[in-house]
């Protein structure tokens, strides 16, 4: 197969933000996730849990609440006191509206979806009417003494429960007045705490209110009488979140100790109709606070400070063995945060608020040594990697995307409101940076940036759906053309790929197919037939101009752009099908590249494996071993040739965030070990393991 020199990079100091809220939408089977930096991500659970959309964060917009309303409209509210609605098509914020109640701690959409309720710092509960294109303030409920931390509607929409500090209030929606006020016990294991914060409430249709609080209790209240019915002490720390299943037969709570508890409504005895809530299963998939939980029909979803998004399937609800039946932990974004300049061996790392430019080191080991070097050998470094540049953004907005040109002389990045282009000059070891000023107004915000192979053209996918082509020469630039989206669609393009000869540009949105444009003639060349699952990565092969597309269901297609049809190899693959282990992988392919000298090879990777597909070899069937970590030993050439198949897989590097070919014999792999992330998180609540 040949050997590679691999630059194994672990200095990408990326730490994902903690998860603050999750909101599950049953209609579309999508999950909205907000993080502590204000980022909101949309996961499509039907498409193999692919993170198909994201809204970049903002320093001043800490999202405290997230909810779906009116079908598939997504709202968030936060400590800046604003309610925001997201445009899921154009991938931007539709509007932000001040609720004038101070920081907002909680939000809940009415069961009908037409009203929105927010709980504010000043103790007010405000009701908003959702109009087709905005929200409109309707009225205030009776103001409470302290901040409203949690809200829940009764399924009939007539009453709401509001959790505050030390008490829970029940409001009548029609009159807006408090019907009951239920005082929560401050006592915690006999010791009176200063305050008892009701972190979450859930109002069931039979009138039961379930509350979770900072004293570690899960309590059941009767809303008709305002009395405590039952109390479960489940944690030594705060219980921070609760979510109830639609059928109201099960709910889930998350604690600050990282534990998630499942409660189920089960019959007291067999055959009896009398049922009671029983704590059934504890799960410990988190090391830190579980800030938020959600309950989909088949899974418990939890997220928290340790940045993992965990899907724990309820095995009794899962009927077939498929993606839904596996425990799933999502830690890394499903998009590329790293770009690479092959010519100068540079890596550009994208963080929330800055960029880092690194130059890879080198080894004295020449080709000769390489031939003698064995698999897994570490080569002596003659020069270590250098940190060349630390580029901080201006303003509070997170970086959406970034790119370094293949020649290494250009860096471009974009936030929601501004687009930045820099020219880099290298003089020996010195590097100078010059910002290209006076960006045109249409280049305000980009979802994806790409340089052509010869670094003379810049392609920008704007969030209005347009694709801009910019000519770069010397220190200046010139706007060449803009491909406007087809009339009527506003769908944003998230992925771009350009052919090495610079003639073809492929662009993919979140749902529609991949469009291929002819850059020379500046017109749409063709559209790849639409496929059910979103595109996770794509690239155009040199010489042949075959477009290779990876989808979230782990299918890989090869489409010939000149012929406007799928290649024979792609058809063969589809006919025979991929190996079942290949299809069972649970992270999407995030990057595809090609070998300049070996046209039959496709290089691709996900978070846990790197693979070279050799199109000249036969495809593996389900009986063959897909991944063989050991070199074939003591086998004749005949056997080796017979057992060889197209997929050459390496699982040495993980979690793998980026892998690309620098030259014929050199690869660069960027890993981000989980231990390094955990080391940078705040310490978790210490739990005694031994002794009393």
């Amino acid at each position: 197969m040949g050997e590679f020199k691999v630059h194994r990079v672990r200095f990408f100091n990326y730490v994902p933000s903690g998860i603050r809220c999750v909101a599950y939408n049953n209609q579309s089977n999508r999950l909205a996730v907000s993080r502590t930096d204000g980022t909101v991500e949309i996961y499509n659970l039907s498409a193999n849990y692919f993170q198909e959309k994201f809204f970049p964060g903002h320093e001043s917009r800490a999202t405290e609440a997230l909810c779906w309303a009116e079908g598939q409209r997504l709202f968030s509210a936060g400590l800046n006191g604003e309610i925001m609605e997201y445009d899921l098509q154009a991938l931007n914020i539709k509007y932000a509206m001040d609720a004038f109640g101070g920081p907002i701690w909680s939000m809940a959409a009415s069961p009908s979806g037409s009203q929105l309720l927010v709980g504010c710092e000043d103790g007010s509960v405000k009701l908003f009417q959702i109009t087709p294109d905005k929200i409109q303030f309707e009225r205030n409920f009776d103001r409470q003494k302290s901040r409203i931390l949690s809200l829940s509607w009764h399924p009939s929409g007539t009453h709401i429960a509001a959790g505050s500090i030390d008490y829970i209030s029940v409001f009548d929606v029609k009159s807006g007045s408090a019907v009951h006020k239920m005082i929560v016990d401050r006592q915690y294991m006999g010791v009176s705490k200063r305050k008892c914060i009701v972190w979450g409430v859930a109002f069931l249709s039979d009138g039961t209110i379930i509350s979770v609080d900072s004293a570690g209790k899960v309590q059941f209240w009767d809303s008709a009488t305002g009395t405590l019915v039952k109390s479960h002490l489940i944690a030594n720390a705060d219980v921070q979140s609760i979510a109830v299943a639609d059928q109201e037969d099960s709910f889930v709570v998350g604690t600050a100790e990282g534990t998630v508890f499942h409660f189920q409504l089960v019959p007291v005895t067999s055959n009896s109709s009398e049922k009671q809530w029983v704590r059934t299963k504890p799960f410990q998939h988190h090391t830190h606070d579980v800030r938020t939980v959600a309950h989909s029909p088949t899974a418990l979803i939890s997220g928290g400070t340790d940045t993992h998004l965990v899907f724990r399937p309820l095995m009794e609800k899962v009927e077939v063995k498929n993606y839904d039946a596996a425990l799933r932990k999502i830690t890394f974004p499903h998009r590329c945060l790293i770009s690479c300049s092959k010519k100068r061996q540079l890596l550009l790392f994208q963080f929330a608020h800055h960029l880092e430019l690194w130059r890879l080191g080198s080894t004295v080991a020449t080709g000769k040594f390489l031939v003698s070097g064995k698999n897994g050998d570490t080569l002596p470094l003659s020069k270590n990697a250098d940190h060349l540049l630390h580029l901080k953004t201006k303003g509070p907005e997170n970086i959406i995307c970034s790119c370094i040109s293949p020649c290494g002389s250009w860096i471009a990045y974009s936030t929601v409101s501004r687009f930045f282009l820099y020219r880099l000059n290298y003089e020996h070891d010195n590097i100078s940076l010059k910002r290209v000023s006076k960006m045109p107004a249409f280049l305000r915000s980009a979802l994806q940036i790409l340089f052509s192979e010869d670094s003379t053209k810049l392609f920008v996918a704007s969030n209005q759906g347009a694709l801009h082509i910019v000519q770069l020469s010397g220190g200046s630039f010139k706007h060449l053309h803009a491909f406007q989206p087809q009339s009527g669609t506003v769908e944003a393009m998230c992925l771009l790929a350009v052919s090495p000869d610079g003639n073809w540009l492929a662009a993919s949105g979140t749902s529609a197919g991949v469009h291929v444009y002819n850059v020379k003639q500046l017109k749409l060349h063709c559209t790849v037939p639409a496929y059910n699952f979103p595109v996770t990565a794509m690239a155009i092969a040199p010489n042949t101009n075959n477009l290779v597309i990876a989808h979230s269901d782990q299918q890989v297609f090869e489409y010939s752009i000149p012929d406007k049809q799928y290649t024979d190899w792609s058809r063969t693959v589809q006919k025979q099908g991929f190996h079942h282990l290949w299809l069972q992988r649970d992270t999407p392919i995030t990057h595809i590249s090609f070998h300049p000298k070996r046209p039959m090879h496709i290089l691709l990777h996900d978070a846990y494996m790197f693979c070279i597909i050799d199109k000249s070899l036969p495809l593996p069937n389900d009986k063959t071993l897909l991944y063989n970590p050991f070199p074939p030993t003591n086998e004749s050439d005949v056997i080796r040739r017979r057992t060889a198949h197209a997929f050459k897989i390496s699982k040495i590097y993980k979690p793998l965030l980026f892998m690309d070919l620098l030259d014929e014999r050199t690869l660069v792999a960027v890993e981000r070990p989980l231990d390094d992330i955990i080391a940078q998180l705040p310490p978790p609540i210490k739990k005694k393991k031994f002794g009393t």
Partner: protein
């Protein structure tokens, strides 16, 4: 959980109950209504939920009802017999019993039996049975005599099993009890003799029975206050032969045996029985509900006014005469569910599934040449075998037993094994038992080991110890006692399985050398530095003897094999310890010596195992040494002949402790090495490596 609810009295009217109480309480065709026949002239129909009578019928003055009224479920009419031979049939509209249908029979009726779904049966005092319709067609027909002279019917019950009416009645003659099972459709009558067991002079006070697919489970309450169970096959193997039935103890002393009042027993469901009687001779009468599966008293209710010692159970109601009035106590047994409390409740199980036998695969019986391919085939073979059996009586009963065991349910096996053990004088007894016990549980045939212990049959005991996973600790200990005390000469005659023993004498010369070496090395520990120098020197005076003693096996090979069986058996320390204290001191010493010998043999090789096919493990040996010493230390320490052994053991422990302390010291260095290893794997933030893809 079974529970008795608040009782209520059916009527304020005092029934004319005689000294024997009521004649009977029977179901009518409406669920809530019951026919109560008093011992005089009256039949009353009660509606239980309303607690009031719906109708009452009396025979003429001078006549007397001799058989409780029953309901013919097929016609809805009521049937009663007065003056032993006169049958009356009437329905709700009739007012006067004098005017209703009358038939005079040729023989005296013991009882009319009626259950839902079939026509009533008439049981005559001489044991003959007739269907009511057939009898009414010719009331004066001749009734044959079935039972012998002086035999008296004591009790009867009527079941419908798979739509076949089955009648059982119990007779008594001179203190002997007989059970008759009449298959009414096939007209097969089978007679069984009930063996009363050791306690020959006990009198059975009350019977009750329940039925499942294959057996009538007859429960009897004896005068000793215990409840016994007898399993009677519904389809007898050989109807012609007079067969005997063995009873097994179900519950011990539930009522006082010598109470002057009557006692009564009735089965409530599979697991529960209700017992009426005084728990203590002096105390008041009680109605108690027992769980026979767990042998626990579930609930009980005191009946201060006394009862007639009669108890009826229909639906959810227990009927009894309390004082002078008929009392109803509703009984409920809700299925309490642990799973429900734990939230793991699944759908309630199909009631039919519990009959499935829980035994290991009988298709492949160990050590037995009957290789059945599938159940279809096996049934065929079985049938053929049955024919063979009938043709050639010399086929040993053991083979029959094996073949039945292979097919049948737990209860049937139990019956067969019991029967077989009752015979027990067969030449191939041990081989059969060996084949049989594989896969059985001790709790399933508790008598087996009891008998073997009584007969000191060490071979069988060894077999049981090897095969049963659930031997009680007391029995294990009793086995140990026998194994230690039995004479060498009597051992010689037995044929003990020697699999677990290895002939240690073969390379004992070589061993001696090895041992002397280890004495010095001792894993880096030098015993000379020890504080026990004095005792060492004391011992060193006779080093020759010592080595000889430790290297030759202190027991003969056959005894070693038996003791190994004990070492392999499962036990719980808490339950075993008290029993170990009962073993005589010299036997303890012998066993300790043997264990010490095994330990020395163990420590000879690096893997710390004994040679042989199935030898005791080091852990088993060490555990038993500890157990024996724990149980008998004060005794052993006083014995002069045990002194050397104890000192040896003491040294052994000391050396073990020092080895472990050395290991503890090394552990730190090992951890450092491990850390170094980890650092080697952790390549830092940046490296250039070679990758080869296969």
């Amino acid at each position: 959980m079974a529970a008795l609810e608040e009782e209520f009295t059916l009527s304020s009217v005092v029934l004319s109950a005689g000294p024997e109480g009521l004649l009977g309480v029977e179901q009518s065709d409406k669920t809530d209504q019951f026919l109560v026949t008093d011992s005089g002239r009256t039949v009353i129909l009660y509606k239980v939920s309303d607690q009031k009578p719906l109708g009452s019928w009396s025979v003429k003055q001078g006549q007397i009802i001799t058989c409780p009224a029953v309901c013919n479920f097929q016609t809805g009419e009521y049937v009663v017999v007065h003056d032993n031979k006169v049958l009356r049939i009437w329905n709700n509209e009739d007012v006067n019993l004098d005017k209703v249908f009358k038939a005079t029979l040729s023989a005296e009726v013991y009882r009319i039996l009626s259950v839902q779904g079939t026509e009533p049966l008439v049981l005559f005092k001489e044991g003959a049975v007739r269907g009511l319709e057939a009898l009414l067609a010719d009331p004066q027909q001749k009734i044959e005599t079935v039972i012998s002279d002086e035999e008296v019917i004591k009790w009867t019950k009527f079941f419908v099993v798979f739509r076949h009416p089955v009648l059982i009645f119990i007779t008594e003659k001179h203190g002997n009890y007989f059970a008759y099972v009449q298959m009414f459709n096939s007209r097969i009558l089978t007679k069984y003799t009930l063996l009363l067991g050791q306690d020959e002079n006990s009198v059975i006070k009350s019977f009750t029975a329940s039925v499942d697919r294959k057996f009538i489970s007859l429960m009897s309450l004896s005068s000793d206050g215990c409840i016994y169970e007898t399993l009677i096959p519904i389809r007898p193997a050989d109807p012609e032969k007079n067969q005997s039935l063995v009873k097994s103890l179900l519950l011990k002393a539930v009522v006082s045996g010598n109470a002057r009042n009557g006692v009564a027993l009735t089965a409530l469901d599979q697991d529960h029985v209700a017992v009426l009687g005084s728990p203590l001779a002096a105390s008041k009468e009680c109605l108690s509900v027992w769980n026979i599966k767990f042998q626990t008293l579930q609930t009980s209710k005191e009946l201060p006014q006394g009862t007639s010692g009669q108890l009826w159970y229909y639906g959810e109601h227990l009927f009894m005469l309390h004082g002078k009035s008929l009392t109803v106590i509703p009984y409920k047994c809700e299925v309490s569910s642990l799973a429900g409390a734990l939230g793991k409740l699944k759908h309630s199980q199909d009631p039919g599934t519990h009959v499935v036998s829980h035994f290991v695969n009988w298709e492949t019986p160990q050590g037995c040449g009957l290789g059945f391919q599938n159940s279809e085939q096996s049934r065929r073979i079985l049938r053929r075998r049955k024919i063979e059996v009938s043709l050639q009586p010399e086929v040993p009963p053991s083979k029959q037993l094996l073949s039945t065991i292979m097919k049948d349910s737990e209860k049937h096996i139990e019956v067969e094994v019991r029967k077989f053990l009752a015979l027990k004088q067969t030449p191939d007894f041990h081989t059969v038992i060996g084949d049989t016990v594989t896969g059985l549980l001790e709790s399933l045939c508790p008598d087996l080991m009891e008998i073997a212990l009584k007969k000191k049959d060490v071979q069988l005991l060894q077999l049981c110890l090897q095969q049963f996973p659930d031997i009680p600790e007391s029995v294990t200990c009793a086995c140990l006692k026998i194994f230690l005390s039995i004479g060498d000469d009597s051992l010689q005659e037995t044929d003990v399985n020697m699999e677990s023993v290895f002939d240690y004498s073969i390379n004992s010369v070589h061993d001696e050398k090895m041992e002397e070496q280890t004495e010095i090395l001792q894993n880096g520990f030098n015993p000379e530095e020890d504080k026990c120098n004095n005792c060492d020197q004391e011992l060193n005076k006779k080093p020759q003897d010592e080595t000889k003693e430790s290297t030759s096996c202190p027991v003969v090979q056959k005894r070693a094999a038996l003791l190994n069986a004990i070492l392999h058996s499962a036990y719980s320390e808490t339950f075993l310890l008290p029993h170990l204290k009962d073993i005589p001191a010299q036997h303890i010493t012998l066993f300790l010596k043997y264990l010490y010998f095994l330990y020395l043999k163990c420590s000879e090789n690096a893997t710390m195992t004994l040679p042989g096919i199935h030898p005791p493990t080091l852990n088993q040996i060490m555990d038993w040494i500890c157990l024996l010493l724990d149980a008998n230390f004060t005794v052993v320490v006083m014995m002069p002949e045990a002194k050397r052994l104890l000192i040896n053991l003491y040294k052994l422990v000391k050396s073990q402790i020092s080895v472990y302390s050395e290991l503890n010291k090394i552990e730190v260095s090992f951890r450092e090495l491990q850390k170094l290893n980890q650092e080697k794997n952790n390549r830092g933030l940046y490296s250039i490596e070679v990758l080869e893809l296969f």
